[in-house]
């Protein structure tokens, strides 16, 4: 098979470039879009190529930025907003929820405000309680917004083009900081939207964002050690969840693990459990297992971080719990939390 590797970060830049180059009405705006960091490299050089009328450096004023994007959209342009931390987007929720999400509905279809908002989930390296939050369920609660979490370079590029070409309202994409430096073979498969990332028959793992990578690692581990066959579903779209792909998988496996970067309380996992219970209750061999952070703010110290963030080792434990209940994880060389943390130690900050 042909190979062409691209990092998540490179795909984001390629996508931004393509949208600016191919659609004259695209405007990129955000804090840092023209600075030397360029949203972790994803907007570097764009202001030079497309000019300061297409790429706008924005004041540190998130509510107005979201509102200005609404005005741009209403008056003929397609804005792409960036937030280097999703936490900062919380300041613009008034505009996003009270206006953008409702513009089409409230005016009976007279107006539409298509736009793309990119926000980075900052988990990496001591980012603490205000630089690392996964706010997908908060955003998804309100009708009118489309929320996606691209888990790969391919997903990101396909999703942004789809948002530009087909979506009539605001699309919010949560990009995970730790995905940025991962390389993906973009010829490997061409997923777009909710997709089966790995086929299997014993247990279904539904995952979001970087938890897709974690789930794939866990699947590899349990296959290697115990020939357990996991089916990994990349949920991708948090709003209007593709529950059919989950139900179809459950028909094969009857067991499900849900792995999300956000809290389980009122979260994506809770919503998935609702949908599964409503639409596939009789398919469930055992209660669903959930892998999410505990319901506490993100701690900063790495000593606590390693117990906060869910990792593939936890998914492995859940797989054993469902499939080999008598398996004693304490006597087996499990992927420990500290070894998992090692894999992120390559990250050297500062942000």
């Amino acid at each position: 098979m042909e190979q062409e590797y691209l990092t998540y970060k490179e795909s984001a830049r390629r996508s931004m470039h393509a949208l600016l180059a191919n659609f004259d009405d695209t405007i990129l705006l955000g804090q840092g879009v023209s600075d030397p960091i360029g949203i972790f490299g994803t907007t570097l050089g764009l202001i030079k190529e497309f000019g300061s009328d297409r790429v706008f450096e924005m004041p540190i004023a998130e509510e107005s930025m979201a509102g200005i994007a609404i005005g741009l959209s209403l008056n003929g342009f397609y804005p792409i907003q960036t937030h280097i931390r999703a936490d900062f987007m919380l300041l613009s929720l008034n505009q996003l929820i009270n206006s953008a999400a409702k513009y089409r509905y409230m005016y009976g279809g007279m107006y539409e405000v298509p736009m793309l908002i990119r926000a980075v989930i900052g988990r990496s390296w001591g980012q603490g309680p205000q630089h690392s939050q996964s706010i997908q369920s908060t955003l998804s609660h309100f009708p009118g917004l489309t929320v996606i979490m691209p888990s790969s370079a391919q997903q990101l590029e396909a999703a942004y083009l789809e948002a530009r070409e087909k979506r009539r309202g605001p699309v919010i994409s949560l990009e995970h900081r730790l995905l940025y430096d991962y390389s993906f073979n973009i010829r490997d498969r061409n997923p777009a939207g909710p997709t089966v990332a790995r086929y299997g028959t014993d247990v279904t793992i539904v995952a979001t964002s970087i938890m897709v990578i974690e789930a794939l690692r866990a699947a590899e581990w349990v296959f290697k050690h115990h020939q357990i066959s996991c089916e990994v579903i990349d949920l991708h779209r948090i709003t209007n969840i593709d529950i059919e792909i989950v139900i179809d998988s459950l028909k094969k496996t009857s067991l499900v693990i849900i792995a999300d970067t956000g809290y389980r309380e009122f979260g994506v996992a809770a919503e998935l459990v609702r949908l599964i219970v409503e639409q596939g209750f009789s398919l469930l061999g055992k209660p669903p297992e959930i892998v999410t952070p505990p319901h506490c703010p993100t701690p900063t110290s790495h000593a606590l971080e390693q117990f906060f963030y869910p990792t593939w080792g936890l998914i492995v434990e859940k797989i054993y719990k469902l499939l080999i209940p008598k398996f004693d994880v304490t006597t087996y060389a499990m992927p420990s939390r500290s070894t998992v943390a090692e894999s992120y130690l390559q990250f050297k900050g500062p942000f």
């Binding site: 004041p59 509510e63 107005s64 200005i68 005005g71 741009l72 209403l74 008056n75 342009f77 279809g109």
Partner: protein
């Protein structure tokens, strides 16, 4: 010279008629409110109509306007369709938003009424963004945004003044200063001078003390809009006015202990609509017939059906 005088007189009569028309429409809305055909809150502009009339007289159809939940006057002055508005207020499917907007969210894309929000101050950035769009597009469009004096307490107002002045955006900020934040005197909650604040952002500021004087407002707006259209950046028009009615609903707030009847009477004494019976007589039957027709249209229209509940979401 004679021609000019006639033109001036026509202009006065046009603006008078426009103001009178909005007044009568809202008075009619108030008078039928008890019939429960309008089953949602109404925020009347009665007393403040001249602000919208004066400014919109100087805007072209291609210019855009954003407003607030107190939006009847703006919608009508900008040329919004009365029948579609009345049907919307009645919750009918023939309303401009098929009954999903109601009185607080008026819009008419045919004449550039881009939306009215029930969240105080929240359309200010929409107008700023629309102004940015006009600037990027390189056309001579002007965007006007109407808001009350208490909306200037919102952080987003300050954010937008900064952005608009930085990029010299073609935005006219129109502050309808009725001194009241719901039932609180704005003076009790505001610690700055609007003139000084706006000037600090290097935005040209003009005040109109008599917000009943639609000609004066139009003249001020005309000067500002001409400069804005030439690319000279945003401007701010601060119009002192008075809503005769209470914040929401058809009644009065006199007797609530905040505003006196004398204050309202002082404004009414300057109100051209109470001072020119001949002009009222000249226009009133035509206006009343138009309102009757719009109410008939609303009354005879259908309500939206359940199948429309989930339309136009995302």
């Amino acid at each position: 010279m004679t021609l000019k005088i006639i033109n001036m007189s026509d202009r006065y009569e046009n603006l008078f008629r426009s103001t009178l028309r909005i007044r009568r429409i809202e008075e009619r809305i108030a008078s039928i409110y008890a019939s429960d055909r309008i089953q949602s809150p109404i925020h009347l502009s009665i007393g403040q109509e001249a602000v919208s009339v004066g400014v919109c007289a100087e805007l072209s159809k291609e210019d855009l306007a954003f407003g607030t939940y107190r939006g009847h006057a703006l919608y009508l002055a900008k040329g919004g369709d009365l029948r579609l508005m009345m049907a919307e207020l009645f919750g009918k499917v023939t309303g401009f938003a098929k009954g999903k907007a109601g009185s607080m969210h008026l819009a008419d894309s045919a004449v550039g009424v881009m939306g009215c929000s029930a969240i105080v101050g929240s359309t200010i950035p929409h107008a700023t963004g629309a102004g940015l769009a006009a600037k990027i597009a390189g056309n001579d469009q002007v965007v006007a945004v109407f808001f009350g004096e208490s909306a200037t307490n919102q952080g987003v107002f300050h954010e937008c003044l900064n952005f608009a002045t930085l990029h010299r955006l073609p935005v006219l900020f129109v502050c309808e200063d009725n001194q009241m934040a719901i039932h609180t005197l704005n003076a009790d909650i505001t610690g700055y001078s609007l003139r000084e604040l706006v000037s600090a952002y290097s935005i040209k500021y003009a005040a109109v003390e008599n917000g009943m004087d639609f000609i004066h407002i139009a003249n001020r707006a005309q000067s500002s809009i001409t400069r804005i259209r030439r690319g000279e950046g945003p401007e701010f028009l601060h119009v002192h006015t008075c809503r005769y009615v209470q914040h929401v609903g058809p009644g009065t707030d006199v007797g609530f202990g905040v505003r006196s009847e004398a204050l309202i009477n002082k404004w009414m004494a300057k109100d051209p609509l109470y001072l020119a019976d001949d002009l009222v007589k000249k226009f009133i039957s035509e206006i009343n017939a138009e309102i009757d027709e719009a109410i008939d249209f609303a009354d005879s229209s259908e309500f939206p059906g359940a199948s429309q509940l989930l339309e136009d979401i995302s």
